[in-house]
Subunit: 325 residues, 2 copies
């Protein structure tokens, strides 16, 4: 939950005058999203989302993110679409920060995950992967396998504060993952393309039982498609008590496969990809926890939730343990 | 900025089904307000504000607050109005908390105060005081003079952490205010009635240069009308550098007097009331700062801002120093 930048009414009115949207009726900071400042802006033509990009987002990446949303939306994927001003530009400045106005997506993200949510998610994620196939821009995933060791090294000295022996366990996992991580090119490569890379429940909106769209493309990148699936297994198929729900996983995977078939190599790689996905979120949460400024708005998330997920995937014998026949 | 309670989509849909407002399209926590959880809820019939009352609000006070908003609105004061469900009730429960749905008020609160804001505020505040005259409910102000000593005593031991000598200075001010505070009854009493008691800029909305309404009536109470004026002198007429802006004060007071004349006794009491208003916000901010849990969402406000205001009013010779002829 975060609003980092305070936008004055004068600055906002001048900003909105650059769009054909009528006058501002209301603008309220939204207590969601941790990377950027988001406002629900209502003008005479309806509601919109105004995003100001804070320091953690690299300006050079913004054309990829904005272009991707436009591309996906044009292909029928439900997602916010950047609006263009009278000058044709979508990306401009507000309060010294890059700022974008996007369309408002109806729906709410599910607080309690039911099996039908996982079913709808699988289908939507596969649709996203297909729709991204002819997107011409690329962005490397700096939070994939090559990014984990620097993160680990920044945390290793203090990891024992969170759990005794954690550093040693993470290092041996990291050694294994670096040695066996599937390639995206060459012989035996797994299919790669545009992935969302952060499809957690708070980025997936539903109206009733129907998925209405996906938001927050600010981790999207070019990577193994099956890695996106593995991230979702972690984010959607564990119960609050830590138990893996094979019914949810089976629905997620089978609905995905109806839209985009998973190859045998992708299925076989799933347990390893899920271990990598666990390590990735464990490391970023560990880093945030150890470097959390006291009194900051954002409560750090618990890295050990992902320790438990990692331990589960380490014991998986094959993709059948994810509920597949 | 605060959303303390997480509302699930299931709970929200069941809640909204009790109102004739159509289905839920969206519900987002708002990063404004520090006492309650507020959501901008969009249904098929438009936008509304959903408020969940957290611990700091006394449930027994809610009928006063809700009744007041209805009363004021019926008298033409721009403010949110509680909505009644199919069962006629406005106050119900959601997630174990008292919850109310109110109408959405267009406008934005001014981040940079211009003289015209103060002029519009004076007129609106006087209108509020007149409109409240025949409101039949009453609520004592537990943050007026009788409430300050307990607050002071809860902070006195640690006040020097914020400023050396602060406790002694506050105690002598408190002695003086207790001895000379104007009465609301008996001979020489000042006019009393419904006051807002927290008319800070973030509770006053504007569309362009026009005031569109007042929000957040959760400190409203029955008290001296001129005390509300004094609170606004403090909240609106000092510049960010601490300087008092007599032009803003003159506009605030003169526009107020055009709608509701201030008696000579009220004018003479203004400096003392403004000292009391300074002490009240100084003490609550001091208390919040000293009792601020580390890592909490809400950044405590600086109590010393009100120390400077108090010092200014201590040196005022009479109401003429507030820009009046």
């Amino acid at each position: 939950m975060a609003v980092y930048t305070e936008v004055s009414d004068e600055d906002l009115n001048a900003f909105i005058a650059q769009y054909p949207l009528g006058g501002v009726l209301s603008c309220k900071g939204i207590a969601e999203g941790v990377e950027n400042s988001n406002y629900l802006l209502v003008t005479e033509t309806g509601p919109y989302i105004l995003t100001l990009y804070e320091k953690r987002v690299n300006r050079a990446d913004l054309p990829f993110f904005l272009g991707l949303m436009e591309h996906l939306s044009a292909k029928g994927v439900g997602c916010p679409v950047p609006l263009h001003g009278h000058d044709g530009e979508a990306l401009r400045e507000l309060c010294g920060r890059p700022a974008v106005l996007v369309t408002f997506l109806n729906g709410m993200w599910p607080r309690r995950i039911a099996p039908y949510h996982c079913q709808a998610l699988g289908e939507a994620m596969a649709g996203l992967h297909l729709a991204g196939a002819d997107f011409t821009m690329a962005r490397p995933n700096n939070l994939s396998v090559s990014g984990w060791r620097p993160l680990f090294e920044a945390c290793a000295d203090r990891a024992h504060e969170v759990k005794p022996g954690l550093a040693e366990a993470l290092e041996s996992e990291l050694d294994l993952l670096e040695a066996h991580w599937p390639s995206a090119t060459g012989p035996g490569a797994l299919p790669s393309g545009v992935i969302h890379a952060d499809l957690f429940p708070d980025n997936v909106f539903f109206r009733g039982r129907a998925l209405s769209g996906l938001i927050d493309f600010y981790f999207a990148c070019t990577d193994l498609l099956a890695y996106d699936v593995a991230i979702c297994l972690n984010a959607w198929c564990f119960e609050p008590d830590g138990a893996f729900n094979a019914t949810k996983a089976r629905l997620l995977l089978s609905s995905y496969r109806k839209v985009r078939p998973l190859s045998d190599s992708e299925l076989e790689a799933l347990p390893l990809l899920a271990r990598g996905g666990s390590l990735r979120f464990l490391l970023t949460r560990l880093y945030d926890l150890l470097n959390h400024p006291p009194g900051a708005f954002v409560q750090p998330k618990n890295p050990l939730e992902y320790w438990n997920k990692l331990r589960f995937h380490q014991q998986v014998r094959g993709p059948g343990d994810y509920g597949l026949e």
